[in-house]
């Protein structure tokens, strides 16, 4: 109970300074199949975001594809900002299967659909091929 109050206090304080914590669900379509996962990130007053992500691939019909996990850090820089719509440059750095270092550049758009909810679509390069992603963001 005490920790819940602490978290609530921190969120309120962040909100007071125009900063936010965002929890997101993500689905990404890569050349090797679908991946699903989540992101938790901190957004500054200037809409810069930094956080952590975790994704896991879904089973595919391909005999060659393995089920991979991909986790690491995600950083987003706002390129265009309006009240409802933002475009970000995004870099994900992390490990696949806790062994392989991967750096993934991309672009993402974020559309506000309510006070505490936004949805987004993204494009990035995975395994030298384009990938597409969808995100739903809950603003705490």
């Amino acid at each position: 109970m005490k920790s819940l109050f602490s978290i609530g206090f921190v969120l309120l304080a962040l909100h007071g300074f125009g900063q936010r914590i965002i929890v997101s669900g993500i689905t990404e379509m890569t050349v090797a199949g679908y991946e699903v996962g989540g992101v938790i990130s901190y957004e500054s007053k200037g809409a810069w975001r930094t956080g952590a992500f975790y994704q896991q691939s879904l089973p595919t019909r391909s005999e060659f594809a393995n089920r991979n996990t991909f986790w690491g850090l995600i950083n987003s820089i706002p390129l265009v900002k309006t009240e409802k719509l933002k475009f970000y440059g995004v870099v994900r750095t992390g490990m696949v299967n806790q062994k392989f270092f991967v750096l993934t550049p991309g672009l993402e758009t974020d559309l506000s659909v309510g006070n505490n909810l936004s949805i987004g679509a993204g494009f990035s390069i995975r395994k030298t091929y384009p990938s597409a992603s969808l995100k739903i963001n809950f603003i705490l």
């Binding site: 679908y34 391909s62 060659f64 270092f101 991967v102 659909v113 987004g120």
Partner: protein, 188 residues
């Protein structure tokens, strides 16, 4: 206005995610006459313990460099550097050469800076063949189609890090005597 964006994103989602993506994609790598490196130039790291691809050579894989020593110099097909190593220190690649009037495929590795070349097999022109390199804790396991495994011991490398991909390259020291085309079908 907002609703339009929501519908647009939902429509894009439905389009993008309505079917399973095609896993196999073919790229043609072109090594120009007088060059070593192929185009398209790509930067990527390996993301799996198994590298699987198909490759097809055509008549441009035939060449005559004049003397046996040059002719037996290995051309590189595809592979990767091992964990945080430079590729002349620790790496594993498939290599090829036109020799004895046939297209020979080799395992081509650097292990702690020492070069290791092991013959794997022969492939025909104008047909796709499947190539596999599996990384185990101690070895690289090479396989061509359903042929026998060829294993090469790994060097002293880290357990987690960057494994940068190595793409088609002609040579050795002598550049391509004419334009060479190699089709490579990735398996994600």
């Amino acid at each position: 206005m907002k609703n339009k964006f929501v519908y647009l994103i939902l429509f894009a989602a439905a389009t993008l995610f309505s079917c399973e993506p095609e896993v196999s994609l073919v790229r043609t790598f072109h090594i120009e006459k007088g060059k070593h490196y192929s185009t398209t130039r790509l930067a990527e790291t390996l993301q799996d313990s198994k590298l699987v691809f198909e490759a097809k050579f055509d008549h441009t894989a035939k060449y005559d460099l004049g003397d046996p020593a040059s002719q037996s110099s290995k051309n590189k097909l595809l592979g990767f550097s091992d964990c945080n190593s430079l590729h002349h220190q620790n790496s594993a690649r498939f290599a090829w050469q036109w020799y004895n009037n046939r297209l020979e495929i080799y395992a081509y590795c650097y292990v702690n800076g020492e070069r290791v070349e092991n013959f794997i097999g022969v492939v025909n022109l104008n047909e796709f063949n499947t190539y596999e390199i599996t990384i185990t804790n101690t070895h690289y396991i090479f396989r061509l189609n359903d042929g026998p495994d060829v294993s090469v011991q790994r060097g002293d490398v880290c357990e987690m890090g960057a494994f940068y991909m190595l793409w088609p390259y002609f040579g050795g020291s002598i550049p391509a005597p004419h334009d060479i085309f190699i089709e490579i079908k990735s398996h994600g």
